[in-house]
């Protein structure tokens, strides 16, 4: 209470302070008039200041005064101000850019009152720790059993689906949701209505859809979108709503379309439950998310969930035994059935922020350098002010205010730069993603603005504190007697400058060499030998299920395409397969020798592909043994199960013994045919499946007839390798002429396929970001070297003048300055190399095809630095040789 009263008084004073000041002055004058000796009153100005202190607003006055003064000073030295602001803009800008990314991906809440929104997970108790989804029936029981703790409890199941809004189908993420799903997040739709309870009922099959805001925007943000028909996996769905801008559900990336769970069987065509009617108690594919009633404690929730979990176990032991229900914050980076972890989130954020922080540190070292040089010029000013009674604290505050203004200006410019950079980064992600998704909003919000101010404040303290301390604590009298610029030899200042440059060079080298490692990774990833011949290869990705075709029709469509493409002139050979190397999605199996007692422990993980005729031939793989699949095996319903394996798998199963003719089994297969022996009829060489594997990954191939996969890639080998690109259009046209409804997801050359893949993109992005950061740090370091060398040369003008006058050759002076520049750079490089080796160790897991000690990088980066630094020293050095002795000697 008293505190509030105090502030009201203070505020009153602030509003009427002119009047208060006048009062104070008049009152003191009246008093002085009454005295016989008015001098006895004391210093009225000082006393008035003291009295004002009592009002509690002095700091604000001081701050305003400091700001005005700082603005004036900075305006007087535009060169310094510009250099400082640009330096800080670069340093702070990269931090804001990265922070926007961290904010969008990890921090910014995706919905209203996020602390009330929790995920409910089904966790196995024996063995403990394994998470699975929740079946619809379990979800309904859970919802009904917890109405007192959850205001809303919703469920969703996210799948890949073909979406056609009139421009041909593309693969996208679709989410089947309960009717109350949108209610959980407290974010009403931008347009239209949510789903109804009737639409949620299983088997209702009411085909309605809610589309994402970006999708609606791409379609011209047309309000007439409601009621429009879109095709999902070939079936028509009516649009009834548009989700709110930025809405992605619980996670990132979000789906592009939401559908009622009741229509599940119409859009679910892939995955474990494809083809089976949805809703069985054993179909654990839902992710459950709910909003707690206000004020519910987590203990209450845990207890209630455990109770429901036990009840479900007792009522349906066949499917629920050994599983309990748990609550946790929804995991926002993926739609996986398990909960996320705050610690993981924090460590990702921290990792991402380390790099830009180093750049900012380099920028700050530059500022320290600039400020120390400037301090020399301002020593007289400081001396005068302190002799007039300016306390050290007050002077430091003044200097820090100046620094803060610079940092805030740099932050503002940096904010602008970072907007541009993050937009560019986001735009470069979209084309390489294998599916269309809703990406998070990286826009401005209060966190980014607060981050900008925070980075500016932190930078001010880092670069400002020490120079301000150094500038103010010095013998006043000696400084007063000095002339500006006169300084004799000040080895301390030079030593500090050199130390700063060494630090900058070392940190720049750290960033540059990290960038170099990523660059090398990107290069070796792009030129990696995939294990098969790339030239003249074309790839077509199709998925008849996206047109709503069932297995029979899908097979027919796939084979028709293969047959038709074989007849296209210029095409040498055509084959078909699931999971072409370097595609993002791949199926896998655990393979073990058939009939082995220890099958589980002997099993080897292998990429599982269904292939058609000539697969090995089209990829340019020789048969190392055995034969290709026969026509009978490729046709559906053949007798014996057969497979072709690669030598990597053969070696894994029977080291040194050969696998041809032996029997294998898949130990993780479900459904009919499980554990059936499969005869190995052919051996092919191994190919790489993704760049992440340093060695070729084992593969097992089964014939088309024995397994149906709707998502397939057609592989073509063209006769004229030079014209492979020209063939793309022809192939696309031919496919459309065969079956218009089957969406063609991708037509590209194998080389482009590898280049445009997510793998290569990641290394490229790493190279780009690290190189950008390294480049900025290099630029800053060069500016630093230039600054220090210029300073040294200007300090020693007289010395150089005398030496020239006494006959020193200008070239000798040039060499001397260059040598000094080279020496500190060399020390910086030495330290930087140690840092770079450490960083290589840390980064090793993210690199591809390069060693953590990469000689090319460890030689090139220092050379670049040394050259830049010598160039930066050269300009001041040349100035040293141009010193006119007569001028130099007169000048001081």
């Amino acid at each position: 209470m008293a505190l509030i009263g105090e502030w009201i008084r203070r505020l009153g004073y602030l509003l009427r302070r002119r009047a208060h000041e006048d009062d104070l002055r008049r009152e003191m004058e009246a008093h002085r008039a009454l005295l016989e000796d008015s001098r006895a009153f004391g210093n009225t100005l000082r006393l008035r200041d003291e009295a004002r202190d009592a009002w509690g607003w002095t700091w604000l006055d001081d701050f305003a005064q400091d700001t005005r003064f700082a603005l004036r000073t900075l305006r007087r030295s535009p060169g310094f101000t510009l250099t400082a602001v640009v330096t800080l803009a670069l340093g702070i800008g990269v931090n804001i850019g990265m922070f926007s990314l961290v904010n969008g991906l990890l921090l910014r809440p995706l919905y209203e009152r996020p602390d009330e929104v929790v995920g409910v997970y089904s966790r196995s108790t024996s063995p403990p720790g394994e998470f699975r989804g929740v079946s619809y029936q379990n979800y309904v029981d859970l919802r009904e059993g917890t109405t007192d703790i959850f205001a809303t409890l919703a469920a969703s199941s996210t799948v890949f689906a073909g979406l056609d809004v009139g421009e041909g189908a593309k693969r996208t993420l679709a989410s089947g949701v309960t009717a109350n799903y949108f209610q959980v997040f407290g974010l009403p739709l931008a347009l239209g209505r949510p789903f109804t309870a009737e639409e949620e009922w299983l088997g209702a099959d009411i085909r309605v859809a809610i589309i994402s805001y970006p999708l609606w925007e791409q379609r011209g943000a047309d309000p007439g979108m409601l009621g429009r028909l879109v095709r999902i996996n070939g079936e028509q769905f009516a649009v009834v709503g548009v989700a709110r801008e930025g809405f992605t559900g619980t996670g990132i990336p979000g789906p592009e379309v939401w559908l009622p769970l009741g229509a599940h069987d119409s859009f679910r065509t892939t995955g474990v439950s494809a083809g089976r009617p949805f809703g069985g108690r054993d179909e654990h594919e839902l992710t459950v998310v709910g909003r707690l009633r206000a004020g519910t404690s987590s203990e209450t929730v845990a207890a209630a969930l455990a109770t429901v979990g036990r009840r479900l176990e007792q009522a349906f032991p066949a499917v629920n035994a050994g599983y309990t229900l748990e609550m946790s914050a929804p995991w926002r980076l993926m739609f996986i059935p398990g909960p996320g972890s705050g610690a993981v989130t924090a460590s990702i954020a921290l990792l991402l922020m380390i790099m830009p922080a180093i750049v900012l540190l380099v920028a700050c070292l530059n500022l320290v350098d600039l400020l120390l040089a400037r301090e020399q010029v301002r020593r007289q000013e400081m001396a005068i002010r302190s002799s007039l009674g300016g306390g050290r604290g007050r002077l430091i505050r003044q200097l820090l205010t100046e620094g803060l203004l610079l940092a805030l200006a740099g932050g503002a410019v940096g904010l602008f730069l970072s907007r541009w950079a993050t937009t560019a980064l986001l735009a470069s992600v979209r084309p390489v993603l294998p599916v269309a998704v809703s990406l998070p909003d990286l826009g401005l919000d209060w966190r980014v603005l607060a981050g900008t101010v925070g980075f500016s404040l932190a930078a001010t303290l880092v670069f400002g504190a020490w120079p301000a301390w150094a500038a103010t604590g010095r013998a006043v009298v000696t400084d007063l007697k000095r002339h500006v610029g006169e300084d004799g030899h000040r080895p301390r200042g030079v030593r500090i400058g050199n130390a700063l440059v060494i630090g900058q060079v070392a940190l720049s080298l750290l960033l540059l060499s990290s960038g170099g490692l990523f660059l090398m990774s990107a290069i070796s990833a792009a030129t990696a030998d995939p294990g098969f011949r790339l030239d003249g290869g074309l790839l077509v990705e199709v998925d008849p299920s996206l047109a709503g075709y069932d297995e029979a029709r899908g097979r027919q469509s796939q084979l028709a395409l293969v047959d038709r493409l074989r007849t296209v002139p210029g095409v040498e050979a055509v084959t078909i397969g699931s999971g072409f190397p370097f595609t993002s999605f791949g199926d896998s199996r655990s393979v073990a020798p058939a009939g082995a007692a220890d099958a589980q422990s002997r099993s080897v993980g292998a990429v599982f592909s269904v292939i058609g005729r000539d697969y090995a031939r089209v990829l340019g793989l020789p048969m190392l043994g055995g034969r290709d699949f026969s026509d009978a095996e490729l046709a559906s319903g053949s007798l014996e199960r057969v497979a072709i394996v690669d030598d990597a798998l053969a070696e894994g199963l029977w080291p040194g013994e050969g696998a041809l003719g032996r029997l294998i089994q898949f130990t993780d297969e479900e459904g009919p045919g499980v554990g059936q022996p499969i005869r190995v009829v052919g051996i092919v060489p191994a190919v790489k499946h993704s760049l992440g594997n340093p060695r070729p990954f084992p593969h097992v191939y089964v014939p088309l007839g024995q397994h149906y996969e709707s998502a397939m890639t057609l592989q073509l080998r063209v006769v004229d390798q030079e014209a492979e690109r020209a063939m793309l259009a022809t192939v696309a046209r031919v496919i459309r002429s065969v079956d218009e409804r089957v969406p063609v997801l991708r037509v590209e050359t194998w080389r482009d396929h590898l280049d445009a893949g997510l793998d290569v993109w990641l290394y490229r992005a790493g190279a780009r970001v690290f190189s950008a950061f390294g480049g900025i740090a290099l630029l800053l370091a060069v500016i630093g070297v230039y600054g220090v060398k210029s300073y040294v040369v200007s300090r020693r003008t007289r010395e150089f003048g005398i030496r020239i006058a006494t006959g020193a050759h200008p070239r000798a002076l040039l060499w001397q300055v260059l040598r000094e520049g080279g020496r500190i750079t060399a020390v910086g490089i030495g330290i930087g190399l140690l840092l770079a080796l450490g960083a290589g160790q840390l980064l090793q897991g993210f690199l591809y095809g390069v060693d953590r000690v990469e000689p090319v990088v460890l030689v090139t980066a220092p050379l670049v630095l040394l050259a830049s630094s010598l160039l930066a020293s050269y300009l001041p050095a040349r100035r040293a040789t141009k010193v006119d002795p007569t001028v130099a000697l007169r000048s001081e």
Binding site: G5, E6, R9, Y13, D23, L24, R26, E27, M28, A30, H31, A33, L34, L35, A40, F41, G42, N43, T44, L47, R48, E50, A51, R52, D53, A54, W55, G56
Partner: protein, 113 residues
């Protein structure tokens, strides 16, 4: 004139409150009243009074109004507020305790403890 003593830190506030408690005063009047009350034994620097007055006003111990002084000049008059009266009482009590304790301590002779 008796020898003068410098003020102990913190004593000016309570002296000002006491002076004003005897009737509203302007700044110069406060000084004169303190001199009268202490029989000129305490030295108050003329100007140092004002920061103290402002501090007390700020704390709500003193109220102010403009009036006319004895020599017909406009002057700001200070009076004690209810809060000021409470503070004066508390401060007086604590001063008396301190002064008593100090006196007792300083009069102690050997053998008494």
């Amino acid at each position: 004139m008796p020898p003068r003593a410098d003020l102990l830190p913190g004593t000016l506030d309570v002296l000002v409150l006491k002076a004003v408690s005897l009737g509203p005063l302007h700044g110069y009047g406060v000084l004169l009243r303190i001199e009268q009350m202490t029989h000129g034994a305490l030295l108050v620097e003329q100007g140092a009074l004002y920061p103290a007055l402002f501090r007390l006003e700020q704390q709500g111990m003193l109220g102010t109004e403009w009036g006319v002084s004895d020599n017909n000049r406009r002057a700001k008059f200070y009076r004690l507020t209810a809060a000021g009266r409470r503070r004066l009482k508390e401060d007086t009590a604590s001063w008396n305790r301190l002064a008593g304790a100090m006196a007792a301590a300083l009069q102690t002779r050997a053998g008494e403890v």
